[in-house]
Subunit: 143 residues, 6 copies
């Protein structure tokens, strides 16, 4: 049997969807209103799922008292109340990585995958009440 | 790594659970109040999950601006504000396919699986706040 | 100080918005897809709010064990899994009362206002996740 | 009896909380991380409540088919995917009106109060899942 | 116009519904399973609503940075992860105040009403996803 | 294709996180406020997922009218309004099994896995709005 725990964190940030790899008209076609030069924002809900054996003494996979500061330091301090395009290094203009939520999943997974107390299975981000994105190891990779 | 996006759509419809394959008393036993000859209805929430590589230029798996009209045409126009038993061809009386949410998952998956811009992974339908149903490719089929 | 309690009940039903008081084209203009002759349906969430003094012995305004059967008998048995236009007397065709959620609020308030153990303050109905309707005594009436 | 309807609209926007009326250190003390010069953002959920008599023919207070374009034109087109401080005239720098959600309630109420088909009772805005703000006529004003 | 803000706080606690003012059989009749001598528990969601004029400089009714520690000290530290019947003084056995959510509203309102920066309008507590209770000044008291 | 249904059940219970396998100071370090000797409580939401072929006659995987009493008898009657540490046999003091939500998942999965009408895929428990835990067969075990 596999047991996992999922904990939800939240941050509020702004971003602009625009890439120098495309012409202005292509940016407009691909991103529409999201390419507004002033940016816009979201409340992001990030669900972090980790799994592992249940410690027979404590009954826990991983102590939330240890997961929380790990996420606080690596994610919330870096992303909360920030403009992603300018204030998160992975999305700095010279990187040409557009801060879509797909890419945000990758960046957050990368930042969290070293969590030493359990295996990081999945990162899921809700960008709006109707849109969510998730990243997990593929079955092929796991095999 | 596998990245997917899930988008929620909603429609309101009515249905009746009843099948000519069973006797009246069996219909009553299996479906209870849901076999009411006048039908009843639900707000259905449909979550469509697609996956695929992230386009390095756009940072997207698939543009929601392209998924939305695909779902709008194939699902929302056909199901919203409709009586499923009479107004959706797959559930027409001569088909003997009861519009349970299990079968609704299959019909919707079938209608969406040709989406050309990403792989359709899963369709999940919430019928009420406590009941949901989902369809996805089985691991065996994927292997 | 005023103390009140609100309890949520749920039922699933279908309805058709159409009135003989208007021409077909007016029905179409006013109700759009909701005038579909086959009807459609919703999951209705009904919040019933009652208020009154807190009983010093029990610490309660009204025992939910007494409110529940009152609502069960008068509302849930009558509306759940029903076609409102044909199966709820207040909306019977000869009454010409269209089963909009505004009118549903009135009908439900009327059915519940005799609750003997606390004062019925308000009935609020969610028809979809974005639409809700409520009825309460107006301040003028209360004065 | 008073009957009202509430409809939820959503937009995503960014803002910065900062005012020239206060010193930098006071801005920092009052707004903390929200005074980040790059701004940040939210998904705003706006609930608009209107009331009035139920039309005996249609069974409606006001047709949502008429409320929607009114809100679409005056609110969603103006606020969605925008940077409030620079792109909404009421919050333009020379106005010195800080785009807190309190002030956003006032601006939105002002923009909607002329709705001709029902009385605007209340505007409620959820800024995050834990914070909401609302504006309504005070009882004194109503008396 | 009246502007208010509502902020949600959460705590998890256990309680037992039982009163020495009633016989054992009456306790059983009134409280049913809730009179279990071992107690049981809930996740309580507490919404605190305060109102007042918007400060023209800051654009705020009251700074959440000042409301939060006020609620933290008076409510969360006292109630979170506690057994209400034994660990919250107002519900100590000698007080004979049963920790129903009605009484919990009164106790929390009493603890918060001295908030110096805005007027406490209302305390609303969700005990379960279907039950909520609220306390506010009555219109008579306000007049 | 694989089709599954998920149904949500709810119960309210209290527990204490504390183990005789650890010293008092270790208990305090691991469980913090959750080791409060009086216990505390939660509203638990339990989602039970079962899968199987859709019956061609009924259009169902498993009739909820049969799943509900199975869960009612084995889970809700045993856990609702109870103190897990003393009133659920698997967590009895002599078992030294701490009633963390990880262990609660295992106990509930064990109690439900014999459901005769469909395959039990997964049990997911929400302990608070931000924390959830789930148990499912691992891919290795399934292979």
């Amino acid at each position: 049997m596999k047991v996992s725990l999922t904990r939800r964190y939240r941050f509020a940030a702004s971003h602009r969807l625009h890439t120098p790899r495309l012409s202005e008209s292509e940016n407009q076609r691909v991103y529409g209103k999201c390419s507004n030069p002033y940016g816009h924002g979201h409340n992001y809900s990030v669900e972090v799922t980790v799994s592992g054996p249940i410690d027979p003494a404590t009954g826990m996979i991983a102590n939330l008292a240890q997961l929380d500061p790990y996420v606080e330091t690596r994610i919330l301090e870096a992303f909360d109340q920030k403009y992603l395009n300018e204030q998160v290094p992975e999305f700095a203009p010279e990187k040409s990585l557009v801060p879509t939520t797909e890419n945000l999943c990758r960046v957050i997974f990368q930042r969290l995958k070293g969590f030493p107390l359990a295996h990081l299975d999945r990162v899921r981000i809700e960008e709006t009440s109707n849109n969510s994105f998730e990243i997990e190891e593929s079955l092929d990779a796991a095999a």
